[in-house]
């Protein structure tokens, strides 16, 4: 990783040049319907962006796994059915200024998307996208990225990272894609850049480290052992089972596949966002539901994130962004739940030496 400097003017020119070259540039922007909210939206110029103001309402995953996506088109003809190619959605794009928690989520989900079968819909977009994250100084009491092995300075998934400094940004160049993007826009000045980055990182991490201690490596196993613990009967009483948490989460990726008619001859098959929190998620056609109450469904979410995904892919399926807890209408709090189960894990065994 090398550090370079980019001025505001040069960054502005970079954005303008990208837009002129028909590359979509997405950045955090003040929401159209509510000035107090930030959304990831396409920009035409750097000045449209609101970098480092607030965590956007939704994560960046929708640019790789859209809320709804046509996966095939069919046409019923007299001779039979024809399946039509869906035009590739993988157009070059740059995501500018996403938070490290959102970006790391993409790399974490890469694991399941490449598990034996490579999901070209996801990876086509991943490969066509250059991600320039922003060092995060926005952590509040609900964030816990450092506890899951990330941090406001995490470069996981980023091609480059911007660190605000006097006159512009220090650019941390991480991948060849990132280097290629910034090559003609960064200055050669390298003095004191490392020190500036270190200072910014230290300040940013301090904001969030106190929120939750690092989750230990054996938590996944202890959560699996506690699958039938009575605590699960009390944790989800206020949960509405709406799945709003999953929708705003950078790592929740569960989806549904449905067919839709356009008319009597033509239609599409779609992949839509879905969530294990909904009552119908595991409902069999027979009427049997292995997760018949919200207790089991909530348990599944926590187990999937902190036990199942780690045991299968070596990654916690959570980036500590805190959105689920902020958006939950029932007041559920993932950090609190994790905390309760960690207490169980560290409780001293009955009798005998530690």
């Amino acid at each position: 990783m090398t550090h370079r400097f980019i001025s505001h003017e040069k960054l502005s020119k970079l954005v303008a040049d990208l837009v002129a070259a028909n590359t979509r540039v997405i950045a955090p922007v003040h929401a159209h319907d509510d000035a107090e909210q930030i959304d990831y939206l396409p920009i035409q110029k750097l000045e449209d962006a609101s970098l480092g103001v607030q965590l956007p309402r939704r994560s960046a995953k929708e640019f790789f796994l859209p809320t709804t996506e046509v996966i095939l088109q069919y046409r019923c003809e007299k001779e039979g059915v024809k399946i039509e190619e869906v035009p590739s959605a993988a157009k070059p794009q740059v995501i500018l200024g996403p938070s490290p928690c959102d970006v790391a989520g993409l790399e974490i989900v890469d694991k399941v998307m490449s598990w034996d079968y490579r999901d070209e819909l996801w990876f086509g977009r991943r490969e066509a996208t250059t991600i320039v994250s922003l060092l995060c100084s926005m952590a509040d009491a609900t964030c816990f990225c450092t506890a899951v092995g990330l941090g406001p300075d995490s470069v996981r998934g980023s091609d480059a990272m911007l660190v605000p400094t006097a006159g512009g940004y220090v650019v941390r160049l991480i991948t060849p894609k990132g280097e290629a993007l910034f090559k003609n826009y960064v200055s050669d000045q390298v003095d004191a850049l490392d020190a500036r980055v270190d200072k910014a990182v230290a300040e940013a991490r301090k904001r969030v480290e106190a929120n939750m201690p690092a989750i230990p490596a054996d938590f996944a196993a202890s959560l699996e052992r506690n699958f039938d613990h009575p605590l699960w009967k009390t944790m989800a009483l206020r949960c509405h089972g709406c799945g709003a948490c999953a929708s705003v989460c950078p790592t929740c990726h569960c989806f549904d596949i449905v067919d839709e008619h356009d008319d009597s001859e033509r239609g599409v098959r779609r992949r839509n966002w879905d969530s294990c929190q909904t009552a119908r998620f595991t409902l069999h056609a027979s009427g049997h539901n292995p997760r018949a109450s919200q207790n089991e469904r909530f348990r599944q979410r926590v187990e999937h994130k902190f036990s199942i995904y780690p045991s299968r892919f070596g990654e916690i399926l959570c980036t500590g962004c805190g959105r689920c807890s902020r958006v939950c209408p029932g007041g559920m709090n993932l950090a609190e739940v994790v905390g309760e189960f960690r207490k169980l894990a560290t409780a001293a065994p009955e009798g005998g030496a530690r």
Partner: protein, 290 residues
């Protein structure tokens, strides 16, 4: 609030109820509480941050809650109207629960806020409230606070929309509904959306595409709002629950006003008063229904 806590303690320790559904302090502000242990009743609070409508937790399809046993539920006036609705529509019986009503001075729109009640922070529904001293209860607690400030935001928005042409109104709603992701949080937070199988999730036949497309999002939202006609208690939980901040409370208010204009009916705390679209009368003015 001490009288609430003492009452809850009494109800639990005497075994009158098995769970008290109320409000407590959570890590991020006020949240619903499910107290089963008399020793925990000191957690129960009631103040201006108690926005949530707890009646939604009485829905009989929430089996993990009904499994706890007979409940006492803390309600404001608006919430009590929802309880009345559930009784009116035979989802619960009056004697199956204990209603603890609280005298209310209005609530913040955001239960995680600590702001004082102002014209900006108060929930827009509170300014028109006629049930600050609820009438449906087994126990009535608390002092009656002063009337809340009026938040004009919603009436201003409705007035602005009413001045729009039909095309502009459509644009306005499409712009919002395009963001809908069909999480159905609006439905889950709504006490009157208690259907075991929502019409929108029925596959045989499929009334509404489940996909979050423009046309399906419109169909879903309009279907849900129309199903609320004459039933909605205007608690605005739908709007609060929506992770995309779609202004669903506007539709709720509009439909309620339309029902009041046409049928002279407002959601009421009296479960004995039938709702206009939920009852058949032989002297109905319409020919087609006879």
């Amino acid at each position: 609030m001490k009288s609430l806590q003492e009452l809850a303690f009494k109800l639990l320790s005497e075994g009158t109820v098995k769970v008290v559904i109320g409000y407590e302090e959570g890590p991020r502000g006020v949240r619903p509480a499910f107290i089963t242990d008399p020793a925990q009743t000191s957690k129960l609070i009631f103040d201006r941050r108690c926005t949530q409508n707890l009646a939604t937790y009485l829905n009989p399809r929430r089996k993990h809650i009904t499994a706890l046993g007979k409940a006492a539920v803390v309600v404001k006036g608006c919430d009590a109207r929802a309880v009345a609705g559930l009784i009116r529509e035979q989802q619960i019986t009056r004697d199956s629960l204990v209603i603890i009503a609280v005298r209310c001075g209005g609530v913040l729109e955001d239960p995680t806020s600590t702001a004082e009640l102002t014209a900006d922070t108060t929930s827009p529904r509170c300014g028109q409230c006629e049930v600050r001293e609820p009438k449906l209860f087994d126990h009535l607690v608390g002092e009656l606070p002063p009337a809340p400030p009026v938040n004009p935001r919603r009436s201003e928005q409705i007035a602005a929309i009413e001045k729009m042409t039909a095309a502009d109104r459509m644009d306005y709603w499409n712009q919002h509904l395009d963001r809908c992701i069909r999480c159905h949080a609006c439905r889950e937070a709504c006490p009157m959306c208690f259907c075991v199988e929502c019409r929108a999730e029925r596959a045989l036949p499929q009334w509404v595409d489940p996909s979050p497309t423009s046309r399906a999002n419109r169909a879903w939202t309009m279907m849900r709002v129309m199903h609320q006609a004459g039933r909605c208690v205007d608690c605005m939980e739908c709007e609060r629950a929506c992770p995309e901040h779609i202004p669903l409370g506007l539709l709720a208010r509009y439909v309620a006003d339309s029902v009041e204009q046409r049928y002279g009916y407002k959601a009421t705390e009296d479960p004995g008063v039938p709702a206009p679209l939920g009852v058949f009368r032989t002297d109905d003015g319409e020919e087609f229904i006879r």
